[in-house]
């Protein structure tokens, strides 16, 4: 990999970590795993974690958060222009997460009105409908998760440092769940487990603890939403609730449109 921003003696590839609108979850995961990366990279930008931050070209930029305001968009465009690999990290950046899920129910302006009241207008001028990065710029790699799984993050970085595209599974959570030999909470406890339509990566965290998957990793490849809805309805969940759960983490927007009615 070319050390695009390589300055002087330091030939290590460069990385940057940036946040748009999110909860800083990925920033935290990356911060916590930085000691493993430091021998192999030079961190040129990471405002969450350090004060001396450089501008200019970078090899890999990890971006957390959704585009939810004009400020985010300007920043994202700057990032795109300066990085070779743009990696969307986290459900916010890949799917839009909860703030995008909420758009199924009402528009951003309505929400601002409701939350900020009289001060709404100045905020509304800045705000945009929350959207994942790829609705605005080209994204090279998408690593979902809320938050991302640390070992997946390290594997993705390892691939990119070799200049290879990483392999990211988009099989359903059920696979990991069965590999861990968990009793199925959807079958045994009638919990509204979204494992069948959610992308694996977490290691089937929730079902392994006896709880229902609530879809925080975003949808798997071609989620069978129709079948999922049918099954949950048969278990006595009301349509309204099922749609609420399916859309909560921002992913399954087509279903959300039905919810808007």
């Amino acid at each position: 990999m070319s050390a695009a921003a390589g300055s002087g003696t330091n030939h290590l590839p460069t990385i940057a970590v940036e946040g748009l609108t999110g909860c800083a979850g990925e920033l935290l995961v990356i911060l916590e795993n930085l000691d493993k990366l430091l021998p192999f990279v030079r961190v040129v930008r990471f405002p969450f974690a350090q004060s001396k931050n450089e501008g200019g070209a970078v090899d890999i930029t990890f971006v957390e958060g959704s585009v939810s305001q004009k400020h985010d968009l300007e920043k994202l465009k700057r990032i795109r222009a300066n990085t070779r690999w743009l990696v969307a990290v986290g459900n916010c950046a890949v799917w839009g997460c909860v703030q995008k899920g909420a758009l199924c129910k009402c528009k951003a302006a309505e929400m601002i009105e409701a939350v900020y009241g009289s001060a709404a207008s100045s905020i509304a001028a800045e705000a945009m409908d929350a959207a994942p990065l790829d609705s605005h710029v080209a994204v090279d790699v998408k690593l979902s998760g809320c938050p991302i799984n640390a070992s997946q993050f390290l594997a993705v970085t390892a691939s990119l440092l070799r200049d290879h595209l990483p392999y990211i599974v988009s099989k359903p959570v059920c696979l990991e769940c069965k590999l861990r030999e968990n009793p199925c909470v959807l079958i045994e406890d009638n919990l509204p487990c979204l494992g069948p339509v959610t992308a694996a990566g977490c290691g089937a965290l929730c079902p392994s603890m006896g709880a229902a998957c609530y879809g925080c990793f975003g949808p798997c490849e071609e989620p069978q939403i129709g079948a999922m809805t049918t099954i949950l309805k048969e278990k006595g969940y009301e349509m309204e609730e099922v749609l609420g759960r399916l859309t909560a983490f921002g992913a399954v927007i087509p279903m959300g449109e039905k919810w808007q009615k």
């Binding site: 392999y167 359903p172 696979l175 590999l179 009793p183 049918t230």
Partner: protein
Amino acid sequence: MLSPTYFLPKERFPDFLNALKSLGQVFAPVKVSKQSYSFKAVEKASEIAFEALRTILPPKKFFYPQSETLVKFEDGEIKECIEEPVFKVIFGVHPCDLAGLGIMDTIFEDSPGDTHYLRKRRTSMIIGLSCMPDKHCFCQSMGTDCPEKGYDVFLTDIEDGYFIEGKSSQGQKLLADAFADKVLERAREAHKDRYKRFWLDRSEAFETGFKVDNLRSTMDLEWENPVWEELGDRCLSCGNCTPVCPTCYCFDLVDVAALSSKQDGSGDAERRREWDSCQFVGFAKVAGDYNFRPGPVDRLKFWYRHKLHGFDDAYGFKTCVGCGRCTVSCPSGIDDIVKVVNILQVARQEKDEGQPK
């Protein structure tokens, strides 16, 4: 010459378990939730769930783990990953699972033999255990209801004790030693009578099943039966039916790259296999995004066909052993093989009858 048979009174079971433990770590079904069991390491007889019919995962997991590294690339060289297996004793394997292991053996033994599986398999002892079918068991239909091969020792529950047969030489040696240690008795006529009665009663106990002789042609003739679309509409493509199957062997091979400062790609890496499922969208996709099985219906039909006659040609057997795991672990209730086969057979029969003589 027939090998000797033994009797183990139930109160002596802990001693028998100790004999097993002296060979290696013992794994047996353990209750893990209201209705599920799992093969886990056990220390005491009280931990064993003797009533367990089907565990969530079949015993294949011991020889073909969910994830294992096959080959690695280290210091610029391609190297084999050989792991020295530790001896395992798997206790409580029912006839359907024994048949399942037999099928796995065939696949992995077929040339070129799979070293990784075979090494682990040969470093183990399988202790079979009799069972009484529940409403989902249909091993009788599949012809896998009697233990034939793939085990070392088999225990038949005859109320106050177990009637024990040794199959392999390591199994017979275990029994001979246990007999010498007075853990086992020689089986007497009364035991043998009860043993026979057990198996007769058991064969009467099946609540469900179908005829297999026409399965192949039925599957082909009913390939367009409307039932497939109905099932497909309910299919989650979650893949739950395959990891739980004693004969599903499909895997994905993935590379795991180590973080490396070598930017020319010569850094260390591992090649790992992980269980995969034919129910996932990308399973049969080839370059150019052409997918041979694009929809849930296509994948579900493929699965049914594979289970019910897929290996007829390749190996001369069917790959369903009738354990009922897929039926109980499908969140959608569409992997009810017995029900589906019955629907297909009825439809076929109607056509046969409708045909002019």
